[in-house]
């Protein structure tokens, strides 16, 4: 290991007036890392069921995301077409190569031009699946992977995200165990994006403007199977 590394570690220990941590202390810290405990979770993030979905909606819309409710995954192609028409956006969609998105009935929308893959910056609109939603702040959780390239989350002007109501959790701390369950303890995909509303900047005279470098619009398709049967 490098000399600088040793020099820095020595300097830290000198300042802390100790040598390498005693074994017992090290074991205690290892245990803290091996079984991460949530800290204080705000009361608003401890809701469940309908209240949790309602909390997510309220916060997402406050962050300037727009939301369409859908009773079924089969309704996604129609909802995308309608949204693009309503917003006067080109009927061209870049899809994440995610099996759930690929299996939707796109054939019923012949006027929608569909392509699949990462973005090179030329796609006006993307559709990607969310791993989870966080009710506390209306935040989407998107993961990088072979089926979910990160460029789709940032390069297109309009980012549409598919979120199933059952994937909405209360707090950030509810997401981490799901990640550990999927990727293994202390392992992560290359990128985990927590996204709350569309891109913005207030760097010019402290005036808030939408669409700085990322998407100008963030639209959430919330598929809520229970909504249909309610």
């Amino acid at each position: 290991m490098s000399a600088a590394r040793q020099q820095i570690l020595d300097a830290l220990r000198r300042s802390l007036r100790r040598d390498v941590l005693p074994e017992a202390d090290r074991v205690a810290l290892e245990a803290r890392l091996a079984a991460p405990k949530p800290g204080l979770i705000p009361a608003r993030s401890r809701s469940d069921g309908r209240a949790r979905v309602a909390q997510f909606l309220k916060m997402a819309e406050e962050a300037a995301a727009t939301v369409t409710h859908l009773p079924s995954l089969r309704d996604v192609p129609g909802a995308v077409t309608d949204y693009l028409a309503r917003e006067n956006l080109p009927a061209a969609l870049r899809l994440a190569p995610d099996p759930r998105l690929q299996s939707l009935p796109w054939a019923g929308r012949p006027l929608l031009s569909i392509s699949t893959g990462r973005s090179d910056g030329s796609d006006p609109v993307s559709l990607t699946p969310a791993f989870a939603g966080i009710a506390e702040t209306g935040t989407l959780v998107l993961l990088s992977g072979a089926e979910t390239p990160t460029t789709l989350n940032f390069l297109p002007d309009t980012h549409i995200v598919l979120l199933e109501a059952g994937d909405i959790v209360g707090a950030y701390e509810n997401v981490w165990p799901l990640l550990r369950a999927r990727f293994g303890a202390a392992a992560m995909p290359r990128t985990v994006n927590l996204i709350t509303g569309p891109s913005r900047s207030a760097d010019i005279e402290q005036t808030l403007q939408m669409g700085a470098h990322g998407p100008r619009r963030l639209h959430i398709l919330l598929v809520d199977e229970q909504e249909a049967t309610r």
Binding site: I8, A11, E173, D203, Q206
Partner: protein, 474 residues
Amino acid sequence: MQTATSHRFKENARTALDDPALQKALGNFQENFIDRRARAAARLPEFDALRDAARDIKDHVLENLDFYLERFEAKVVEAGGQVHWCTDADAARSAVLEICRAAGARTVTKGKSMIGEEIALNEHLAAHGIEPVETDLGEYIIQLRHEPPSHLIAPAIHVNKDQIADAFRAAHADLDPARPLGEAPALLAEARARLRSRFLAADVGITGANFLIAETGSTVIVTNEGNGDLTQTLPRVHIVLASLEKVVPTLEDASTILRVLARSATGQEFSVYTTFSTGPRRPNDLDGPEQFHVILLDNGRSRMLGTEFQDMLRCIRCGACLNHCPVYQAVGGHAYGWVYPGPMGAVLTPSLLGVGEAGHLPNASTFCGRCESVCPMRIPLPKMMRHWREREFERHLAPAAARHGLRLWAFLARRPALYRFAAAIAAGLLGAFGRRRGRFRSLPLAGGWTAHRDLPAPEGRTFQQLWAKRRRVS
């Protein structure tokens, strides 16, 4: 390191006070920062308890910093990345340059990073033929203007729209002179279009880090524009610049601190983009960098540990102490003469540059205590500024007049009878002379005060006399 003019704080402040454009730009703190933060804090009943929890997490980390850094490094390596330990700015600059050269880089995009400013990275890269492009809108503006940031999270807060338009016209050679750039949306559109091609063409992307996660070896950035994500996703190489104290144990610990960060910084419930990066792209990934490097910078921080300035290492660079500081609001960030302005800069800069260069900054405080009262990490900023003042005094760095004045005051303060006697004479004299107008336009030995405002005249009695009288009456 970035060149400093902190020793000239007084002259810098005077220039700032006489700059009408700057004074206008500094006029909106109440509405845009102070009120927003207050509303966001009031909306979360657990906010103050979260501040306590955030403080405790960082205190725990600092006591075990060696352990958590070693763990962080091991996890970065496990994920396929590299950690470069750098004792000082010079080493960090060299490490970045070496990575860029090995990648054959010609242009480098950069997300916002205070460490990048601290080590003066842009100058170093440019001097070696690599073009650095700042991508945060505010950072881009000040890069074009060849000046340092004046605020931790709003780097171009001192610049107005006309100045931005001028900078764009000067730098964007093919920009149609007839195209109007008078309004903010036109300026944003111009910057967005320009930077889009730079994002796509860059060979290396450099970001800062709000947190390093020991549990997973992840680095975390928090932005609103999305520039940091484009910076770190598109190029072949991602370099993260971070100082040692950014590490936290787990994702859960980061979550707690994230809850107080955005609310304190911009009054948002949560920033738009909070991104966790772990290693380079995976074998089947369709995008993302092929290399992942973390520059871990000490640059004086290990020396702060275990001293009366250790608490400063809890700082998460939210800028709340700047926004609430009457001195910062009056003079802006450039007057502080280095990378870190406001109360946090007044404590950190002397720690990193030495009391000789920056010993004057802790004097630029009224000790009103607002910085500490809003600090999400509960850093006792005024107390630490007092420590620096003591050191400045001990090392005979304060001006002779201040030292003699303090000595005289200390002599009197230790002799209560004499103090009461002298104070009664002074109050009586000032009261008698000032009775007619109620204030003084000028006064011997008080020119620094009366040059800018009148000194109110005392009523003729000292506080102690009035207090004694009150007690006799009751």
